[in-house]
Amino acid sequence: MRRRLIPVNVVIASLLFILLSLEPDQIKPPKAVMDRGETIYAKECLGCHQADGLGVQGLNPPLAKTKWVLGPRAQMIHIVLKGLTDPIEIDGDTYNNPMPPHLHLNDQEISDVLTYVRNSFGNNAKPITPADVKKVRAAIAKGK
C-alpha cells in the first residue's frame, strides 16, 4: 500500500511547478490596460503598423518581436513620444515613412498603448508604467 502513495512534498512540488509554468499568464497586464491600449492603438498606430502589427512593406515596420519593441523601455518610449526619421533596418528592409511624434498623448495613454504593443502580435515583454513615460518625457523636454 505505502509504495503506491505519492509523498505530499512531491505533490506540492508538482503543483508549484505547474503554477510556475503558467507564469506568462501572470505577467500578462490587466485586461483594463490591454483594452485601453488597444483603443489607442486603433486610433494612433493601426493606420501605419496595421491591425496585425506586421506593418507595410517598405513603408512602416512590423511591431512583432523587434528589438525596439522587446528592448529597453526607455528606448521604445522615446521613439513613440518623439518620433523617428533616421532609417531603421529589419532583415535588410528599410521603411520610407516617418514615425511621427506622439507628444499629444498623456503618460497614461502612452504607457497603455506601449504595454498593449509589448503584449500583442506575439510579443511578451514587461509592462510600461506612466512613471516610465514621465521620465522620458522630461528628458525630451530637456532636449534629449
Partner: protein
C-alpha cells in the same frame, strides 16, 4: 557609403534575424535564388482577364521589380527597388527568364527607352545608356548622367520618368511629406502655408535628354501641387503628359472630429491628371473628394470636410479612383494586338492600399480607362485582377503580388511587373 551600408545590411540581417517573426511577411527571396519560368495554359497564371485575353508568367522572384520596359526585340529591362548581387537593372534577353544579365549599381524605379537610349533612374538621378543597332546596352558600366541631386528623403522618393517626342524627359519629384505639416504626419502639427517643399518637390520637372549633369535649377518646373506620382506617361496620340497622383493619407488619425474611419478609407481620390506646363493641382492645400465631386480644403489649412475655400479654382481629375489604391504605373496602349477599344487607352497598375486600415484594403489590380481625343471615353474598369491571391489576402493587405510596372511589347502584348516578389506577367489577346 554604398559598401558600408551593405556591410551594415549583412550585419543587421545576421543579428536581427532571430528577432523577427515578420520575415514571412516580407518578400521571400530564396538565397542564391534560381529564377524559374512557368506557364500553365488555361489558368492565366492566376489572373482574371476580359474574355479573349490570356496571361502567362514570364519570370518569377526577380526581386523588387518597379518599372519595366520592353524593346523592339522583346528584351525586357526591369528596374529594381533593391540591389540584387549589387545590381539594379535586369535584362531578360528576348523576354526569357533563363537569359538574365544585370548592371547599374543603384536601386530605383524609372526605366524607359527612346531613340536609341535606355534611360533609368535612381532615387536622386537619371542616367542613360546608348544602345547599339541590336538594342544592346553598349557600355553598361558607364552611363551618362542626365540629371542629378534630386531630393530623396525616403518618403515618396521614386523618380519615375517618361519622354516626349521633342527631346525632353519628365520626372516626378514626390514631396517627402503627407500634407506639408511643420512636423510630417504628427497629430496637431500645422500645415505650412506657403509650403516650402513645393520649390523643389511635389511636382513634375522637365529636363533635356541630351544635356549632361543637369540639376533641378536647369530643369523646367513643369507642374506643381502634385503630392506624389509613380505612374506617368507621355500620350503621343495628343502629345500631352498624364500622371497618376497618390492622394494624401490619415484624415481620420489626424482629424477625427471631421472624418470617420470610413471617410478615411474613402478619401481622397487617387487622381488621373492631364498635366500641362504650369498646371497646379493644389497639394498640400487641397484634396479631391469623389463623393462631393469637389476639390476640398485640407484640414491642416482650415478645412473641415465641407469647406472648399481656395480649392474651388483647382482643376478636377479626369478620373477619380478610389482612395489609397496607389497607382504606380500608367501606360497609353498604342499596340495593334488588343481590340479597338484599347487603342490609345490608359492602363493603370494599382499597387494596392495600406492607409484604408482598419477598413478592408483594396487595389492590387490593373485598370483600364478608354480614351478618346485625350479625354476618358467611358468608365474605367478592372482589366486584370487576382494579383492579391484571394479576397482575404486583399482585405488584409497581406497579398501575394503588388502590380507596379507596365510595358508594351513589340507585338502589342502588355507586361505587368510586381515589386513584392518580382514576377512579370505577359498578357496577350486572341480573337
Amino acid at each position: 557609403m554604398k559598401s558600408f551600408s551593405s556591410i551594415v545590411t549583412v550585419v543587421v540581417l545576421a543579428t536581427t534575424h532571430f528577432l523577427c517573426a515578420c520575415a514571412g511577411e516580407l518578400p521571400d527571396q530564396p538565397a542564391g535564388d534560381t529564377t524559374t519560368t512557368h506557364s500553365s495554359p488555361g489558368d492565366n497564371a492566376g489572373l482574371t482577364l476580359p474574355s479573349g485575353f490570356s496571361a502567362t508568367v514570364v519570370a518569377e522572384n526577380l526581386g523588387g521589380v518597379r518599372h519595366i520596359v520592353v524593346d523592339s526585340n522583346g528584351d525586357i529591362y526591369a528596374k529594381l527597388s533593391k540591389l540584387k548581387d549589387g545590381k539594379g537593372i535586369l535584362e531578360l534577353k528576348g523576354g526569357d527568364a533563363g537569359r538574365i544579365s544585370s548592371f547599374g549599381n543603384y536601386p530605383g524605379t524609372g526605366i524607359a527607352i527612346k531613340n536609341g537610349y535606355l534611360y533609368a533612374s535612381s532615387n536622386t538621378s537619371i542616367f542613360r545608356y546608348k544602345l547599339d543597332a541590336g538594342n544592346q546596352v553598349i557600355d553598361p558600366d558607364k552611363p551618362e548622367t542626365i540629371v542629378k541631386d534630386l531630393t530623396d528623403r525616403g518618403q515618396h522618393n521614386s523618380k519615375s520618368i517618361t519622354l516626349d517626342n521633342a527631346g525632353n524627359i519628365y520626372v516626378n519629384i514626390g514631396a517627402p511629406s503627407n500634407s506639408c505639416q511643420v512636423q510630417d504626419r504628427a497629430v496637431g502639427s500645422k500645415g505650412q502655408d506657403p509650403c516650402p517643399l513645393l520649390d523643389y518637390a511635389g511636382g513634375i520637372w522637365q529636363f533635356k535628354t541630351d544635356k549632361l549633369n543637369q540639376t533641378i535649377n536647369d530643369g523646367v518646373h513643369y507642374a506643381t501641387g502634385i503630392r506624389n506620382t509613380v505612374g506617368l506617361d507621355w500620350n503621343s496620340s495628343v502629345n500631352e503628359l498624364y500622371v497618376m497622383q497618390h492622394g494624401r493619407d490619415d484624415l481620420h488619425r489626424m482629424f477625427e472630429q471631421y472624418y470617420t474611419v470610413k471617410d478615411n478609407a474613402e478619401l481622397p481620390a487617387e487622381e488621373f491628371l492631364l498635366v500641362k506646363k504650369g498646371s497646379d493641382f493644389g497639394w498640400p492645400y487641397c484634396y479631391f473628394d469623389p463623393k462631393q465631386d469637389k476639390k476640398m480644403l485640407a484640414p491642416e489649412y482650415g478645412g473641415d470636410g465641407k469647406i472648399q475655400g481656395r480649392c474651388g479654382e483647382i482643376e478636377k481629375p479626369l478620373v477619380a479612383f478610389p482612395a489609397h489604391l496607389a497607382p504606380n504605373a500608367l501606360l497609353f496602349y498604342t499596340g495593334d494586338q488588343f481590340p479597338e477599344k484599347y487603342k490609345n487607352g490608359a492602363f493603370i497598375a494599382f499597387h494596392g492600399s495600406w492607409n484604408r486600415a482598419p477598413e478592408p484594403q483594396a487595389g492590387y489590380f490593373v485598370a483600364f480607362v478608354p480614351m478618346k481625343d485625350g479625354k476618358p471615353g467611358g468608365n474605367w474598369e478592372i482589366f486584370a485582377d487576382g494579383f492579391a491571391g484571394g479576397d482575404d489576402k486583399k482585405a488584409s493587405g497581406r497579398v501575394d503580388y503588388r502590380p507596379c510596372g507596365l510595358a508594351q511589347g513589340p507585338d502589342g502584348a502588355l507586361y505587368v511587373s510586381d515589386d513584392r516578389k518580382g514576377n512579370i506577367w505577359k498578357i496577350t489577346y486572341k480573337k
